[in-house]
Every structure is written in structure tokens, then in C-alpha cells.
């Protein structure tokens, strides 16, 4: 399964090579042109069958995941690090990681409970107090295996949790390998419009890949595909779960980075209803996505974000429902087909 390959792949922001190669391999014989740019974005063009001039549709999904970077070598062979992208310090203790080009396995240390006081255990241990242990016994030995600035990720293997019902799977980096898997699946469709798949780099650094990809592509319309917050655990207060597992792809109306184009919202709702595809709305006003960068390109691009609900994004293990993912593929294919008939350019 492509999602499995993508989830297991190593790809923190700035080091997306492995993910890029998997995606290139997955789409290259179904698209007309493939290119990369200075930031490492992978852009694939699938020409439409309609008459010129054809609508240029950008479909974006980001390749990068949150991760780590080695920043310090201690004399005892342990290594200091920093997080790449938004990782809460509380998620780092006692986790398994892989580091560097050779994918060396290591662990993030954590003090034994026996030797800590109760008051200390009330404090969050900040990342600069933590270290990665790959088993080296000196800084020289560590430097022989890992370089300054090497990247790392959580060491999580993809696994199927349930074969029916919600068809849940767990793995790392569903934000946004889920989006990448959906985008890659779109090459199997036939469309009247030109499809420009932008597998972006460095979204977690502030949508940097999408910004330059959008400038290059200069699209008429853009979709950003994501794996988004799903906070549907039981809570005391009656507040929004942002999205819910199993309720279908989540459409963004507005988040901190952009307002979705109202015609595109209409298009997706109409397409979902016409095809009996379940859908939900992501809690408005929360998060930011590549659409935030894309919609401000040049003179403005009507944009929207659609996402697979993922529990525990930006943590070592996330969880999603394959039925949500399949529905998202269905929705996007149908929407791309509907675009040629319905879309009114402003």
C-alpha cells in the first residue's frame, strides 16, 4: 500500500528525498512531465483531455513530516537535538528514533522514576535537556556514525489496526503522507482539466515549498490535501473535536492561514452529495495549511483544503481510517471531473 510506504519513509522538513523518490516512482508513468525545484518540491503535470485553454488545477500535498536535527555531541556519546517543525516537548521522552542517512536506530533518554522527585515530574523537560542515545560511548564515536545537522524521525512502523468498520491504521507522519497518498491516487483518473500535482517540501517550516511551487505553476484553482487534527476523544466540556474519525473527508471553510473560496466549497459539497460521499467540516479557525501560501500567490488563487482526519498528528504515532481516505480520493476525483463543467473563472 502506498500509504504504508510513505508513512514509513524518512522525510523531515528539508530532507524529503526518500518520500520524493517513492512518489516519483508511483506517478511517473501516468503523468506527462515531472520536475523538481530549488526547495525539492516534486511537480507532476497530467495534461487534461479537454480543449485549450484548459483550467490549470494545482493539487498540493506536503511530503515533509516533523522530526529532529542533531545539534550537539556530548563527550559521553549522547547527542543533543532540536525539533524540526512543531513537536511538543512532552512527546519526546523515551521515544524510539532513527537518525541520519544510514538510519541509525536510537532512543531519546528519560530519567528513571525512582530517581526523580514528585515535584520534578510536574515539570515538562525541555528539548535542550534531552539527548539521543545511539549507543556510542564517546563524541568521536558518535561523530563517526552521525554528522552535525543530520535529521531524525520517530521510529514508528505502519500497521493495520482493524480490517473492517473504520478500517483504521496507525503510523507516523499521516500529516501529510495521507494527503500525498490521496494526491498520488488521482493520477488514475481522466480529467478535462490540467492536473498539476505539487508534492511540496517544508510545509512545516511555514508553507515554504508550496509558496514557490504555486508561483511556478501559476494555477487557476488550488486544492491542498492534508491529514488534519482529529480531536474526538471524550472530553468533559461540549466543545468541537475539530474533525471526527469515520465521518469522511473534512473540508476547511477557514483556518488561520486562509478563507476557502466559496465556489470551491460549493463544488465540493455538491459533488459529495451528488455521489453519496460522506464529508464533514473541519472546525473553522484552527491550524494552517499550504493553501495559506498558495492563495496569496501573484494576484490570488481560489483555494481550498480537504483533509483526512488523523488522531495524534505531530506525535510519534498517528491514526486514521482508510475509509475516510478512500472517500477523500473519491471526492477529489469527482470534484476534478466536475470542475471542467461547473467552474466559473472570476
Amino acid at each position: 500500500m502506498l500509504l504504508e510506504q510513505l508513512s514509513n519513509a524518512f522525510g523531515p522538513s528539508g530532507c524529503e528525498d526518500e518520500v520524493r523518490r517513492i512518489l516519483a516512482r508511483a506517478v511517473h508513468d501516468k503523468v506527462d512531465h515531472l520536475q523538481t525545484d530549488a526547495l525539492g518540491n516534486l511537480i507532476a503535470l497530467k495534461r487534461g483531455s479537454g480543449p485549450e485553454p484548459r483550467l490549470k488545477v494545482m493539487v498540493d500535498a506536503h511530503m515533509d513530516e516533523v522530526g529532529l536535527m542533531v545539534t550537539r555531541f556530548d563527550k559521553n556519546g549522547l547527542m543533543g537535538f532540536r525539533v524540526v517543525g512543531g513537536v511538543d516537548d512532552r512527546l519526546l521522552l523515551a521515544k524510539r528514533v532513527v537518525v541520519g542517512c544510514d538510519r541509525i536506530r536510537g532512543v531519546i533518554t528519560a530519567p528513571p522514576i525512582h530517581l526523580t522527585k514528585a515535584e520534578q515530574r510536574q515539570q515538562v523537560i525541555k528539548v535542550d535537556q534531552l539527548a539521543i542515545d545511539i549507543g556510542a560511548s564517546s563524541d568521536d564515536e558518535a561523530k563517526g556514525l552521525v554528522k552535525m545537522g543530520d535529521y531524525g524521525t520517530f521510529d514508528t512502523r505502519f500497521e493495520i489496526l482493524s480490517e473492517d468498520g473504520l478500517r483504521t491504521v496507525k503510523g507516523k507522519a499521516f500529516d501529510d503522507r495521507a494527503g500525498c497518498a490521496v494526491a498520488a491516487a488521482l493520477v488514475d483518473g481522466e480529467y478535462a482539466v490540467d492536473l498539476l500535482l505539487a508534492f511540496s517540501a517544508q510545509e512545516e517550516m511555514g508553507m515554504r515549498g508550496a509558496k514557490v511551487a504555486a508561483f511556478r505553476i501559476d494555477p487557476d484553482v488550488a486544492f491542498a490535501l492534508e491529514g488534519t487534527i482529529c480531536d474526538d476523544m471524550p472530553k468533559k466540556a461540549d466543545v468541537s473535536p475539530t474533525t471526527e474519525l469515520g465521518k469522511g473527508p473534512a473540508i476547511t471553510l477557514m483556518d488561520r492561514s486562509f478563507f476557502a473560496d466559496k465556489s470551491l466549497v460549493r463544488l465540493l459539497i455538491d459533488t459529495a452529495e451528488a455521489n453519496g460521499i460522506p464529508y464533514q467540516f473541519k472546525q473553522p479557525g484552527v491550524g494552517s495549511t499550504d493553501a495559506g501560501a498558495i492563495h496569496l500567490s501573484r494576484t490570488g488563487v481560489p483555494s481550498i483544503t480537504v483533509a483526512v482526519p488523523c488522531r495524534y498528528i505531530h506525535t510519534p504515532v498517528s491514526l486514521l481510517s482508510l475509509s475516510d481516505l478512500d472517500h477523500m480520493v473519491e471526492l477529489m476525483k469527482a470534484a476534478l471531473q466536475a470542475l471542467s463543467h461547473q467552474w466559473q473563472k472570476a
Binding site: 468541537s240 477557514m254 486562509f258 478563507f259 467540516f281 472546525q283 479557525g285 481560489p302
Partner: protein, 330 residues
């Protein structure tokens, strides 16, 4: 002019939802401009051609106001929200909001004592009088603006959304009175300024102007215990030197001062320690644009009762007209 200001300020138009205010402004500028169009994000641009040999000037006032977006409808039909733009929770409790369809809601605090200790937006909700989730669920994703009637205090006026509808009124008045200018002037009523100067950025990219001047409000520091800043009500339009998003182009700023002095228009110099305007976005498009800003001093910004001085408003109109009559050498 006060009637225009009343209509503009009472209108509905939180960022991203500017259709209604745009329609009102469009009706005002259509008979006055040589061309009117709306771009992808919804910016309204009214062009007044000049006699030739001048610059392409972009004047920008933003149409959008701060507001809230309904983010959740709970079991009982109460609405939770996220902010649109810089909304201060302490200005909200007990206030009223209006939806695009004209209906009204009330903002209330979950627990007054808890809210006093920790005034956060998450401790507030909106009540539209619904009795169940079903009754109110269509509200999810709708945006609301604040509601207050315009008040005429004589020399001073009070309204919500003077930021930045007062500048929209100023630009409409400038367009009305503009004649004999060399310059090709685009009167831009921009969108989504309050959420990050978004409309001005894409609009300026498209227009590629030689000069950009934003018109916005600034903080009047003449109220009790205010942080010491130079701006006050009634001392004239403020010529912006700096805010937290931008340093005005010195040539633009100096040209504005020269014009004000040559025409006997009172003015203030503005150094603001917070906030930003469309000028900051215009300045950075493409290879750079010389940009500045004329600001109207305003008390109680980002509350439902903002206050400006009508003398400052009239002098802002005069200053902009006087600038457009010169060749604007930088």
C-alpha cells in the same frame, strides 16, 4: 459625509465576508470612476484616470472588520467561535453580533468569575436563542461582525468598524472631489487586511503601482493612562513614519509633510509601537514599491465603540487631494 460613514460602519463585513460592504461601496464609486472591477480575493478597485505623465498610484483602505467565525454548535444550540483578526476577549462579553442574514446573537461568558480571572475567547459563546443543536447547526462556519449603532457626538463620531470604514469614506470623498490630477489613481477597497494584509498583497501584485498610500486608523494616545505616543484626536491626519510592520518610505513621508505644510493642513507625525497596515504589504510586492500611510487618530480601536474626530477626517481628505495634485517627487 456622516450619513455615508453611518451606512459604511453599520454594514456587515468581517474579513473573508466582505460582499455586503463591497456592494455598498461599489454603488458609491461606480458613478464616479472610469472603471470598476473586483479581483480574485474580492478587492474592489475603482480607477480614476489622470491627465497623463504622472504615476500609477494605489490608494488602499480596507473594507473588512474584525469579527468571529462560528466554529462549533453544541448540544443545546450555543455557538462557539474563533476570532477573525485581532479580537480582545475583554471587549466582547455582553456584546451583540450580527450574521450575514441580519440575525442577531449575544456574546456571553461561561462563568463570570472564571472569565474575570482568565479572559479568554474560549470562555465565551454566542446565544442566538436556539434551543437545540438542530436548530442552530446551519450556523457552523458563518462569520459575525459586531453590532453598534453609529453615534454623532458633533465634532466626534463613534461607531464600530471605523477601522477601517472611516478610511473607505475618506477615499470615496477623495474620489468624489478629485480633478486635474496627472496620476492614474486606483482607489482600492481591500479585503482581509485584519487577518494579515492579504487582499492588499495580491491586489498590489496585480496593479504593480509606482506608489502606494494606505489610509487606516492609528492609536490616539490621549486617553487616561495611555502609553505615551504622539498621536491625538483633532490634531490632524497622521503621517506615518513607522509602525510595527513597516517604515514608511522616507521620500513618501517627506512629500506628505511638504504638501501638508504648503497647503496649511494640520498634521501629526506618527510613530506607532504596534499594528500594521496595507502599506506594509504593498511595499514588498515584486521589486518593491515606495509606500506610506495617512492615518486617522482613533480612540478605543478594535472595540465596538471606536471614536474619531471629523476635523481629522476632513483634513485627511484634503491632504490626499493635495498630494494627488502634485507630481509627487520622491
Amino acid at each position: 459625509m456622516k450619513d455615508l460613514i453611518r451606512r459604511l460602519t453599520e454594514a456587515y463585513g468581517p474579513s473573508g465576508h466582505e460582499e455586503q460592504i463591497r456592494d455598498i461601496i461599489r454603488a458609491e464609486v461606480q458613478p464616479l470612476a472610469d472603471d470598476v472591477r473586483v479581483d480574485v480575493l474580492g478587492n474592489l478597485m475603482a480607477l480614476k484616470k489622470g491627465s497623463g505623465g504622472g504615476k500609477k498610484v494605489m490608494l488602499a483602505a480596507h473594507m473588512d472588520e474584525i469579527g468571529l467565525i462560528i466554529s462549533y454548535v453544541d448540544e443545546q444550540g450555543f455557538l462557539r467561535f474563533q476570532p477573525i483578526g485581532g479580537v480582545d476577549a475583554t471587549t466582547l462579553a455582553g456584546g451583540r453580533v450580527q450574521f450575514a442574514d441580519g440575525s442577531t446573537g449575544v456574546i456571553a461568558a461561561e462563568n463570570r468569575q472564571e472569565f474575570k480571572k482568565d479572559p479568554e475567547l474560549t470562555r465565551l459563546f454566542i446565544d442566538v436563542g436556539a434551543t437545540s443543536r438542530d436548530e442552530a447547526k446551519a450556523r457552523l462556519g458563518q462569520a459575525v461582525g459586531f453590532v453598534r449603532p453609529f453615534a454623532d457626538l458633533g465634532q466626534r463620531i463613534v461607531a464600530k468598524a471605523l477601522d477601517d470604514r472611516i478610511s473607505c469614506a475618506i477615499l470615496i470623498e477623495v474620489l468624489r472631489r478629485l480633478e486635474d490630477s496627472l496620476h492614474e489613481v486606483y482607489f482600492v477597497f481591500s479585503v482581509q487586511e485584519e487577518v494579515g494584509l492579504r487582499g492588499a498583497q495580491t491586489c498590489a501584485y496585480g496593479l504593480d503601482p509606482d506608489l502606494g498610500i494606505a489610509v487606516d486608523i492609528t492609536v490616539a494616545a490621549d486617553t487616561p493612562e495611555a502609553k505615551k505616543l504622539a498621536m491625538k484626536l483633532g490634531a490632524g491626519p497622521c503621517i506615518k513614519i513607522m509602525d510595527s510592520g513597516m517604515l514608511a518610505h522616507p521620500g513618501v513621508k517627506d512629500a506628505m509633510i511638504r504638501v501638508a505644510e504648503a497647503n496649511g493642513i494640520p498634521y501629526q507625525l506618527e510613530v506607532l509601537d504596534r499594528g500594521s497596515t496595507d502599506a506594509a504589504a504593498i511595499q514588498l510586492v515584486r521589486g518593491g514599491v515606495p509606500a506610506g500611510c495617512v492615518s486617522v487618530a482613533c480612540r478605543y480601536y478594535h472595540t465596538p465603540s471606536e471614536m474619531v474626530d471629523m476635523g481629522d477626517v476632513e483634513n485627511s481628505v484634503k491632504l490626499l487631494l493635495a498630494i494627488l495634485k502634485t507630481s509627487i517627487e520622491l
